[in-house]
């Protein structure tokens, strides 16, 4: 454990010949986005076919593409955040834009007679997406202004709200808040070691799944920061919260306190 901690906390060793920083700092995001969208499409299609048998005839199964996309974006952002304390801007900006565009798609599809697209897409609609975007932007601005969370986290919340829509995003973010509270308490109890362990695990995972290309190059200053114990990578509880909010009711997550 001591070795691991020292390994993680040690300053990044500079290579003999510095890599081409411009190439690494601005990688092409197109392949990553194609991969994310393809994974979401496969997951949504699989999920659509899986529950058809047990569901009664009069109950329409809900499309899961948007949820799968949100979950996969969340996992990518969480890995990056846990490993480097940064959420890449190309990920958040593109996700927010894509969320708004994809939520407008069912309206266009209905105009051209593709009603069944709704069944697969599971989009909340343009109104919900815009409302989610606006509400998340206000919340993010206030949070950043009071130095509660980083700008990357705010952008990430805006992206999630744009993809899921206001109503579902509220439930997802409340679930995430419950998990973040538990995470923060545990991290406080173990004097910040949870952050360090998570960081090490995330770095290994980033290396394993070839995401290193897209994670920011510069070593995070937060490791040397004395406030490291007082901060958490928010994308991690957000990713868990968004993912489980679809399967576990908020009432159970909050021990019955929130029951709308």
């Amino acid at each position: 454990m001591t070795d691991t901690v020292q390994h993680v906390l040690a300053p990044q060793a500079l290579p003999d010949s510095p890599p081409d920083a411009s190439a690494l700092r601005s990688p092409s995001w197109l392949p990553l986005w194609i991969t994310l969208l393809s994974f979401s499409a496969v997951l949504a299609t699989t999920a659509l076919f899986l529950p058809i048998k047990p569901v009664a005839e009069n109950i329409q199964p809900t499309g899961l593409f948007m949820f799968a996309l949100a979950a996969i974006v969340c996992v990518t952002a969480a890995l990056s955040d846990a490993a480097t304390n940064r959420i890449p801007n190309p990920l958040t900006y593109t996700a927010a834009l894509l969320g708004l565009l994809l939520n407008c798609l069912p309206v266009l599809a209905r105009l051209f007679g593709f009603e069944k697209l709704d069944l697969w897409l599971g989009a909340a609609g343009p109104q919900q997406a815009l409302l989610g975007f606006a509400a998340a932007a206000v919340f993010g601005l206030v949070s950043v202004a009071i130095r509660g969370m980083g700008v990357g986290d705010s952008k990430f919340i805006i992206a999630i709200a744009s993809i899921l829509g206001f109503s579902h995003a509220c439930v997802a973010l409340l679930s995430a808040l419950c998990i973040a509270t538990v995470y923060a308490l545990i991290n406080l109890a173990v004097a910040g070691r949870l952050n360090i362990v998570l960081r090490f695990a995330a770095q290994q995972l980033v290396d394993l799944v070839c995401l290193k290309k897209w994670t920011p190059l510069e070593a995070p200053d937060i490791v040397q920061d004395k406030g490291f114990r007082g901060k958490i990578p928010l994308a991690v509880p957000l990713a868990i919260g968004v993912t489980i909010s679809r399967f576990i009711p908020l009432r159970i997550l909050t021990f019955g306190l929130i029951d709308a």
């Binding site: 952002a77 130095r147 980083g150 700008v151 973040a180 509270t181 923060a184 308490l185 709308a260």
Partner: protein
Amino acid sequence: MPTHSKKLHAFLPSWLKTAPAKLHTRLRDNRGTASITFILCLPIFLFFVAIICQYALLANAKLVVEQAAQAAARSTVTSLSDDRPDRVYRAAYMALTPLSPAVTPIDAEGTQVQDALNDLGAQPFSSYSSRFTYAKNATEVLWTSPRGSFVDNEAQPIEVTVNYQMPLTVPLANILLTQSKTAIAGRIGYYRTVTATVKVVTAHSRTTRADGNGWPSGGPP
């Protein structure tokens, strides 16, 4: 920079001069950490916001229930003398309909009222009948009996009380304000009783709907 732009720039406040640079920095910033104090304080803050929102909705409900009590009280003066208490109830239900949630199945009386309003050209909202059904099931209208004959004695005091089961919809606050779930008109949820009482005094003593067909005795003028 052109001369007129320089002049304009000189008049700008300092925070506005630095705003574009700050915005650019913010847009490029990608820090993804949140302060633990912020995370621990946010649930408490949200809890207070939820309580304030729920009390604001309850205050709004109180105003609407008072209006319903006034409508019911006015109706007692004209309808009790005709031995038509159903009109008193209906006056209260109609006043509370906009406040009520939509439920199913829809009551026949709700459909009748909506059709009647449509015939009058009032154009009620599409869910009027289902909301009326909830109002009918969630409202209790009580009034004190007038002293003596309604027709023969003037200045009869009548006290009308309306009790309405207001659905509590704000998460967290609803559980704190009421402990148990109940079902009203098939809708399971948390409810709180909102009460309003209005006193009226009859000024005139006469029968307005003597033959029960909508016209005073003797038919239409």
